[in-house]
């Protein structure tokens, strides 16, 4: 299948001059094409006939990767399987590259190395040195077999290989082969599948074969693909002591510690700035908050990753001087500055894709770095929600200096409840970041409105936002100008109201990330109440949508949400004196365990008061609860659409 980070769908096709007269189809392709296949679902786009990778390790910093893949396209929607690509880095060399096709009429085609285009990989970095060789197989149509083979001389930074066996299409046969030099050893670890015994193993050589793996089909809100796929982690160990393997989390941490040695050393100007920023701050919180704020606001996020730069941070002094860096650069600089004021900290390597790090598979499948700040004993840490205690008993405050909108002591949703590698004391320890409760992520709306006899509604709403509810708004609003902010708020309101006028929008504490974000809105909607003869229909839920649609298909994977949440709405509507309440919706109260919802409409004199509370307690809902979730969302949807019926007084 695909090695994480080494497989990219090409965007440009190569003009093809291949023809059947020149094609030399290798035996392995013919053999794969002749495989007897099980019956697949009618929406199966293609099937991987053979997916075979062989790693021949030649030394501590080199191996040969030989890859073969044959796919049968079953539907037009599977044509993309004809796009092939291989990535390589500086000092790595593609030594062979071929692709073939056999169309449904039996015509054969071949692409040679010169038919593959080369380009850079455009990703989040300002610059990286990853190159791609890509091509599109001829006749990539239903009933064709397309095949691809390459060999690359790799220069790994770590003696470790990750392999995922499952794909978005079924895999008929998959092989992973490992050849090690005499005296070397390997350690295999598995996730997403019971450990597989090698079909052959001669000490330094091994081969694993898997058959008929099902497709991992896309489902909305499911955990990331890499968290669902059957995975093999291979740590290969040279004889004697070595610090460049991931045979355990501890070993992986050792490697990373060595890779970052000296990077946090301060310079006089860095030290001077640190003391300037913390002048007058005497306690732990004051010092850390001042430095964290500097990192969040004064160091821009810019990633330049060359060679080992995908793992290794730039020296703190370089990041400080340039005032930019990526996540590991920022963590490095903050760590260095904290040390200058007597606060120790350690790297925490984490993935923003919850579930991709599996405790049984030590592996560098991380994509982000944050910091664990050591909280001295005796420090009052009650205000911090992101405390973790390591095995050595040290208390750490987990903080992401790359995130400019989450204050110290909190953690945005995607970094919660996930495994992370703490690199401390020269080794690694797998920790789990905390899952913060619903009260740390709140959206509270309070509104007071007056309804006119003509159906017009006017009034004010105040939104109090904390946690990710504030974080998301800040991401959208802080970089925007006044007009864009107004448009964004209008767009959000338009999900609930039509034909409204936003008379005023006041945003408080937008830049004060330590405080709740407060947005006050003054608006009117002339057509809100629907007049129908003597009746008027008024929806008491004025703003906010909690319900969403679920697909009717049977669910395979859990629903994953970023974080827990508590959301309340309280809307009061002063009714026109010409009308009296004739009918109100029934109250709603439902508790599905993973979440609860309740709402009610009360009539108090000339006022209608609507209040509701939605609480999401869990971030993972198993597929076996799909019908419960559907019913839960349906109840919310019906409540959100419910109307109060008013009747004109005679």
């Amino acid at each position: 299948m695909r090695n994480s980070g080494r497989w990219y769908a090409p965007t440009a096709a190569v003009l093809l001059m291949a023809s059947c007269a020149w094609a030399t189809i290798p035996d392995w392709v013919r053999s794969a094409a002749g495989a007897s296949l099980p019956k697949y679902e009618p929406d199966t786009n293609a099937v991987v006939l053979l997916d075979e990778v062989s790693y021949s390790v030649t030394g501590p910093d080199e191996y040969i990767e030989h890859y073969r893949r044959a796919v049968k396209i079953l539907r037009p929607d599977g044509r993309g399987e004809g796009n092939f690509g291989v990535s390589f880095r500086q000092k790595e060399k593609v030594t062979s590259l071929h692709a073939w096709s056999i169309d449904k009429s039996g015509h054969e085609y071949e692409l040679k190395e010169k038919d593959f285009a080369e380009r850079g990989l455009f990703d989040f970095e300002l610059y990286n040195d990853i190159r791609l060789r890509t091509a599109t197989a001829p006749a990539a149509n239903p009933d064709s077999v397309v095949a691809f083979e390459y060999e690359v001389r790799r220069r790994p930074w770590l003696n470790h290989i990750d392999w995922g066996f499952e794909e978005s299409i079924p895999v008929h046969e998959a092989h992973v082969v490992l050849h090690l030099p005499q005296g070397w050893e390997y350690r295999a670890s598995w996730a997403g599948i019971s450990p597989v015994t090698p079909t052959q193993s001669t000490g330094s050589d091994a081969e694993w074969i898997l058959h008929d793996l099902p497709a991992i089909k896309h489902e909305a809100m499911s955990p990331p693909f890499w968290a669902l796929s059957a995975r093999l982690g291979l740590a290969y160990l040279e004889p004697g002591p070595s610090n460049r393997n991931a045979s355990s989390w501890e070993a992986l941490g050792r490697w990373y510690d060595q890779l970052t040695t000296g990077k946090r050393n301060p310079t006089p100007d860095l030290s001077e700035k640190t003391h300037q920023l913390t002048a007058g701050k005497t306690d732990f919180d004051g010092k850390v908050r001042a430095l964290a704020s500097f990192l969040q606001s004064d160091i821009r996020y810019v990633a330049i990753e060359i060679g080992v730069g995908g793992y290794q941070p730039h020296p703190a002094q370089d990041v400080f001087r340039a005032r930019y860096g990526d996540c590991k650069d920022k963590a490095t600089l903050l760590s260095s500055m904290l040390h200058e004021v007597g606060v120790e900290s350690d790297y925490v390597i984490v993935s923003t894709y919850r579930g991709t790090v599996h405790p049984d598979v030590p592996s560098p499948v991380f994509n982000h770095m944050i910091l664990a700040i050591e909280v001295p004993s005796g420090t009052n840490a009650d205000s911090y929600r992101t405390l973790v205690t390591a095995k050595n008993g040290k208390r750490y405050l987990i903080f992401d200096p790359t995130d400019p909108y989450t204050p110290l002591g909190e953690l945005r949703g995607e970094l919660q409840n996930t495994y992370a590698l703490l690199v401390a004391g020269g080794r690694g320890e797998l920790i789990r970041t905390p899952l913060l409760g619903p009260d740390t992520n709140m959206l509270v709306r309070t509104g007071h409105f007056t309804l006119g006899a003509d159906g017009g509604l006017a009034g004010e709403i105040v939104e109090d936002r904390s946690g990710d509810h504030a974080w998301r708004e800040r991401i959208a609003l802080i970089p925007a100008n006044q007009q864009e902010r107004t448009q964004q708020i209008e767009k959000r309101i338009s999900r609930s109201l039509n034909g409204f006028t936003l008379e005023k929008a006041d945003i408080q504490h937008l830049d004060q990330i330590d405080q709740k974000l407060v947005i006050s809105l003054k608006l009117n909607d002339p057509g809100y109440g629907q007049i129908r003869g003597p009746l008027m229909l008024v929806r008491p839920r004025i703003l906010g949508e909690k319900s969403f649609a679920l697909e009717r298909k049977p669910r395979q994977y859990p629903f994953q949400f970023e974080r827990t949440s508590r959301e309340t709405d309280s809307f009061e509507i002063e009714l026109p004196k010409e009308y009296a309440v004739e009918d109100v919706p029934d109250p709603v109260k439902v508790d599905a365990g993973f979440a609860s919802y309740q709402s009610k409409v009360e009539v108090q004199g000339s006022k209608v008061r609507y209040s509701r509370e939605f609480v999401r307690r869990d971030v993972m809902i198993g597929p076996e609860h799909t019908e419960e979730l559907r019913k839960f969302l349906g109840t919310i949807g019906a409540d959100e659409a419910a109307e109060v019926v008013l009747k004109r007084a005679p």
């Binding site: 007009q483 767009k491 309101i493 039509n498 034909g499 057509g527 029934d586 019906a638």
Partner: protein
């Protein structure tokens, strides 16, 4: 005729670059009249060109004559329409079940046939079912029940569906039932109060919908949304709602837009038009039961 594709570029005669012109259409002389044809667009019927090549300036070449800059055919709203007919019965638990017939005409048929041409029968079925689901309330069940004429060019694309979806919501002893079923999910077309650039529609279009909605026998229609017409110089919206029996109504909706570009100084006018359309689309039927109308 050499034309630009106006989804990406508007031809500028003063700019002497051929990259402006990305497609070719044909101007045929027939009985002394010129007919614009688009043989390069699959499923494009006789007498029509794809919207991307319509109403654009391009270069015309005649045999033995100089080239000249001319404008391609303009299409009107009759060249892109969707007609929908729904017959649904609301069950005592507030769900709607029934059938929907959809006809796609002109450009609307070309768009769907082109998308369908890129996949297989399974994919085409999903394409249509997903579109109908996108119209209906959340948690709807939609299945295609006929074999649409995907390969035809000169006739509409017709599709029939069996559907079920949650519909009625309770209000004490009453039911509130959305009647414009195909617009339940539509959001206001324009949310911004101000506009800097013109509003640009890809093509002119028309939607004609008819819904027959029957409530359970124990319910009686108490109030039907009033029929209404909203009209601009270049757009018209009309609804007719009528009670057909004590527990059934018919709703007819006709929306037509007849201008491609609306300047910013007319933004409030077009926003107001679509706000009014949305308000009218949202008008439900109010039904009353003899007993408490609890959804079962």
């Amino acid at each position: 005729m050499w034309v630009p594709s106006r989804d990406t570029w508007i031809f500028e005669p003063a700019l002497l670059h051929t990259w402006q012109l990305s497609a070719e259409i044909v101007i045929a002389q027939l009985n002394g009249k010129e007919v614009f044809l688009d043989p390069g667009t699959k499923f494009c019927p006789y007498g029509l060109v794809d919207w991307r090549y319509s109403s654009v300036q391009g270069i015309r070449q005649r045999e033995g004559k100089d080239t000249e800059i001319v404008e391609s055919a303009s299409l009107d709203f009759s060249h892109a329409s969707i007609e929908r007919l729904g017959r649904v019965q609301v069950t005592p638990d507030g769900k709607a079940a029934g059938t929907i017939n959809v006809g796609y005409y002109g450009l609307e048929a070309i768009e769907r046939r082109s998308a369908g041409g890129r996949t297989d029968a399974e994919g085409r079925k999903k394409l249509l079912e997903d579109e109908v689901k996108s119209w209906l309330p959340a948690d709807s069940d939609v299945s295609l029940t006929n074999a649409p004429n995907w390969g035809a060019t000169d006739e509409q694309l017709g599709a029939e569906f069996k559907i079920s979806c949650p519909l009625a919501v309770g209000a004490g002893k009453r039911w509130i039932v959305p009647v414009h079923l195909f617009q339940v999910n539509e959001k206001p077309r324009y949310s911004a109060s101000e506009r800097t650039n013109p509003v640009y529609f890809d093509y002119l279009w028309r939607e004609i919908d008819e819904i027959h909605l029957t409530l359970p026998p124990e319910f009686a229609v108490e109030s039907v949304p009033p029929s209404d017409t909203v009209q601009l110089e270049y757009a018209r919206y009309r609804t007719i709602q009528k009670q057909e029996a004590a527990n059934s109504v018919v709703a007819i909706r006709d929306l037509m837009v007849g201008r491609l570009v609306v300047q910013p100084n007319k933004y409030k006018e077009i926003k107001g038009f679509f706000d009014k359309v949305k308000t009218e689309d949202d008008q439900p039927v109010v039904a009353k039961a003899a007993v408490h109308a609890e959804l079962r």
